[in-house]
């Protein structure tokens, strides 16, 4: 036992099948391979004497424990089967009143309880098994150096050298170079297939559905199927009004609707024109009505928390706050860019329309934006 590297086998970790636990206790003290100086205050105290469990000395108790573990495993299986039954048999709309929680969906409740029971019983059975019936004899496991001995290392190095020599790779540069070349191009297909991820976005991130004369449709008047909606007249908006809106073309966008609204959602706010500090913002608005992108410039949540007295527009996700009296500039929060303003005017029929598209890309910053 004194030289660990020479005995990389089971006897080293201090447990011997033939001698058993008692033998381990006897030699547990000298397992370190170091001479312990007399009077060493840090002497290794060794292992405590082994104490048997009830199940080790009483066959009846052991049998009972075995049955308990089996019962837990059987319970787990039953709960798993119950889960499958509950999944198909409990009506989706059934509601049960469960005391501390109140009315909950019977299906969700049963699925959660049964899956929980299945996993818990499995875990409880495993723990109970390990603690009552699996062996609990203590033994120290000594560590040895992971490094091979110098002779083995020298042998391996010599073999490698000999192998290189035998292969002739040094003498035959043609083979060496073609092999290296083949290995170099091998990973390229993994990159090459990425081209099928689709056409590059091009300048689509810089443009929205808004264009000159595009009518602004009040979201509140859009039917549930999204096919009809009404425009907004300036006189509809009183001071302090907030309206979320979409371009008229969104009513007929069909499958493209979500892509379109991801960029084109706007909100209209009417405030006293005297409250607007920026001349550009006044010019881009109409009699105190201003239109801003609804997409937060941080990560694209819909900003709609409008405080009509402070004219602050908050984003519900990360509390970015934009000042709608000053070109939508950021006054708090993680957003890095002002909320883009949509220049608006009134068309011949008296409805609010866009003057043109946004001047700045809407939504979160992106790589190519610079």
């Amino acid at each position: 036992m004194s030289d660990e590297t020479n005995h990389p086998n089971m006897t080293e970790i201090g447990y011997d099948e033939e001698r058993g636990a008692v033998a381990v206790e006897e030699h547990g003290f000298d397992g370190h391979g170091e001479v312990v100086p007399a009077g060493d205050p840090f002497a290794d105290p060794g292992l405590e004497p082994h104490r048997p469990r009830i199940t080790d000395i009483d066959a009846k108790a052991a049998k009972r424990a075995e049955r308990q573990v089996a019962l837990l495993f059987a319970l787990s299986a039953a709960a798993t089967i119950g889960f499958m039954v509950a999944f198909t048999e409990i009506p989706r709309t059934a509601v049960v009143d469960f005391f501390p929680i109140g009315p909950v969906s019977a299906s969700n409740f049963a699925l959660g309880m049964l899956l929980g029971m299945a996993l818990f019983s499995l875990g409880a059975g495993a723990i109970y098994w390990a603690r009552t019936l699996m062996t609990d004899v203590e033994f120290p496991q000594e560590r040895h150096r992971l490094e091979s001995d110098p002779q083995a290392r020298a042998d391996a190095a010599a073999e490698w050298k000999q192998g290189v020599e035998d292969s002739g790779i040094k003498r035959r540069p043609l083979i060496r170079r073609t092999l290296l070349g083949a290995l170099t191009v091998l990973p390229l297909p993994a990159l090459w297939i990425l081209r099928d991820l689709g056409p590059l976005p091009g300048d689509t991130l810089r443009h929205t559905a808004w264009k000159a004369g595009e009518r602004i449709v009040n979201n509140n008047t859009v039917s549930l199927d999204g096919a009809t909606g009404q425009g907004v007249r300036p006189e509809d908006l009183t001071i302090g009004s907030l309206v979320t809106a979409r371009p008229q073309s969104a009513l007929t966008a069909g499958e493209d609707f979500n892509n379109m609204m991801a960029k084109s959602a706007i909100l209209l706010v009417r405030m006293d024109p005297a409250d607007i500090k920026s001349k550009q913002e006044r010019d881009w608005g109409y009699q105190g009505i201003v239109a801003f992108s609804q997409i937060c410039t941080h990560v694209g949540c819909p900003v709609t928390l409008y405080e009509q007295q402070t004219h602050h527009m908050l984003c519900p996700c990360h509390q970015s706050t934009f000042d709608l009296t000053e070109d939508g500039k950021v006054i708090f929060g993680p957003a890095a860019r002002s909320l883009p303003q949509l220049p608006i005017t009134v068309d011949a029929d008296g409805y609010l329309v866009a003057q043109r598209d946004f001047d700045a890309p809407v939504g979160p910053s992106f790589w190519e934006r610079g």
Partner: protein, 279 residues
Amino acid sequence: MKSLSTRRRHPLAAFVVLALGLAFAGALFAAFVSPAADADTGETPAQQLANGKALYISSCSTCHGMNAEGSSLGPSLVGVGGASVDFQVSTGRMPAKQLGPQVQAKQTVFNAQQTGDMAAYIQSLGGGPGVPDSSLYALDDSKVSLGGVLFRQSCSQCHNFAGEGGALSDGKFAPALTQTDPKAIYEAMLTGPQNMPVFNDKVMPPAEKKAIISYLVTSRNEPNYGGAGLGRLGPVSEGLFIWTVGLIALLLFAVWIAAHTTKASAERVAKAAAAKAGK
């Protein structure tokens, strides 16, 4: 009487006297100060305006001015309409008791008739949205789905998807709508109290206000399909619960497992040894 005089030196006597005194003072205060019961509503419009003006001057004019022209403490009320007065007074927000980030709902001070008188007076000053008819905010079960769409579109950002309310900036907040009277919800949309935007009848037609109210009132009685609602505040309260209560429970369970030994007691070992030797 004799028993009273013997007990007056009892150690608790002073507390009993104090409690009786406080109860008497409280009853007296309630009798004089609490809102009078609804009187008969047989007022003529002229009386209503006169009563409303008198109440306005005694309770509102300090901040809003003698002619509702406003001051540095409160905005002008010319043109805000009777709906605004009814909302502010019937929810107890006005008269305001203290300045702060936001005037909060509290116990009402005026009864329904007094509120109506003041609403009529303010309405007479410059028009504005009037107190809505009760048919406008009656529940309509067929509009719940539309109301949900509209609520999530225009209201949920501040008031939370389940109407539980939420924080705004600098101590302001959007109140919870779980107990709010449908009439007050209608009036709030109509008039945009404090920092809430205005949703007038042109941008949010009455039928849609009705749909939103139908959705809100219906959702109050909806079961929590996923189990405990935890305030219906979403992932924040759910995460907080499971990372504190759930994790601590697991830790305690692990400690409990490790703290219980499975080893046999010494006498049990001796007994087993004796039994073995006996064989």
